[in-house]
Amino acid sequence: MTETTEHSLAVLGAGVMGTNIATLATGHGIPVVLVDVNDDVLAAARLTVRQKLKHAQLMGVLPAGRPRGELVTTTALTDAAGATTVIEAVTEVAETKAKVLTEISALVRPGTLLISNTSCIPIGEMAAWVPRPEELVGVHFMNPAYLIEMVEVIRGAATSEATLERVTAVLTALGRKSLVVNDAPGFVINRLLHPLINRAAMLVQEGVASVEVVDGLLEGCLGHATGPLRTADLIGIDNLVDSLVVLHERTGDPECAPCDLMLEKVRAGHHGRKTGRGFHDYRKAAE
């Protein structure tokens, strides 16, 4: 397949989304350089990607007969400089994203597609951190990125048509479908989803219903594949609180101020599936 050999990815940040995207790409035959600041995180990420590749294969979502792309892990950002596409997937904290995007955009050649897997921070804010904002575009991959076919593409005010065409080509090579939205805090998905999760947690906090009942109602009555609180556990409650803060600061919407129960979960280290416990308990299933 010539279309996959044209591409090489650098993924910045080896957390939940970074390893998801690395799995998606290598599973579609595209080589990935995965960058993080910590060797221990990278060692864990290699195992995680291997497990996620097995999961993807189990679910029958990888193209048959296509050799896997190579996965290289590194702490040196310079190793990402040769990629045709860079995907930033670091923590949803503006200072962190600013530092990483400023550094990487100074390293890559002009013509390198620069994607932010931002959750809520507008592309317009990030445009100020890079020298060629026309090459910057947002792609909001879902979690798990290798199972959910649809992605949200965010066109910043400065994003060029050529960049939009190129991001579509990369997403096609990754077997993804996309819908394009204009720039705004949280875009479409998270502007809807994050306040919904926050409100679901608030209902539990107020004693209106248990975690199981809230999820059960959304699944049974509204057809959600995964209830909002189980979704929160999958995303990571710590990441959700970061994103809600970003949304609250930028929209002033009181529905976006993280509720006490969410903050409590973060303080207690119950961040969701990745720590074995969040709104639901995964410790037995994770053994």
């Binding site: 497990q51 097995k54 189990l58 679910m59 029958g60 199972l147 037995k284 299933a285 053994e287």
Partner: protein, 92 residues
């Protein structure tokens, strides 16, 4: 975690898997019940089943064996374990 089990006959594996599933999903299941069709098992839990079988029976489930159909029921998983324990592929 359980270590490799040297005694692997169909009855032992089936009983162990039924006990494992009952504990995890809090619902009794039949050996021939389609776990996915009944909505008892999510795609995330399917992966836990892979890890459980690999760790418990000291097998590696790779390549064409790694397909959802092999995890669809306790019977299917039992057959997979026995086949891989024997060290012969499904097609000989």
């Amino acid at each position: 975690m359980t270590t490799a089990n040297p005694i692997t006959d169909a009855k032992t594996v089936e009983a162990e898997l039924l006990a494992f599933l009952t504990e995890r999903i809090k619902t009794p299941v039949r050996p021939d019940e389609d776990l996915f069709k009944a909505g008892l098992v999510s795609s995330m839990f399917a992966m836990q089943l892979v890890v459980h079988l690999e760790d418990t029976y000291d097998i590696e489930i790779v390549g064409p064996e790694l397909t959802l159909d092999h995890f669809r029921s306790v019977e299917a998983m039992t057959a997979l374990v026995l086949r891989l324990r024997e060290g012969t592929g499904a097609d000989g």
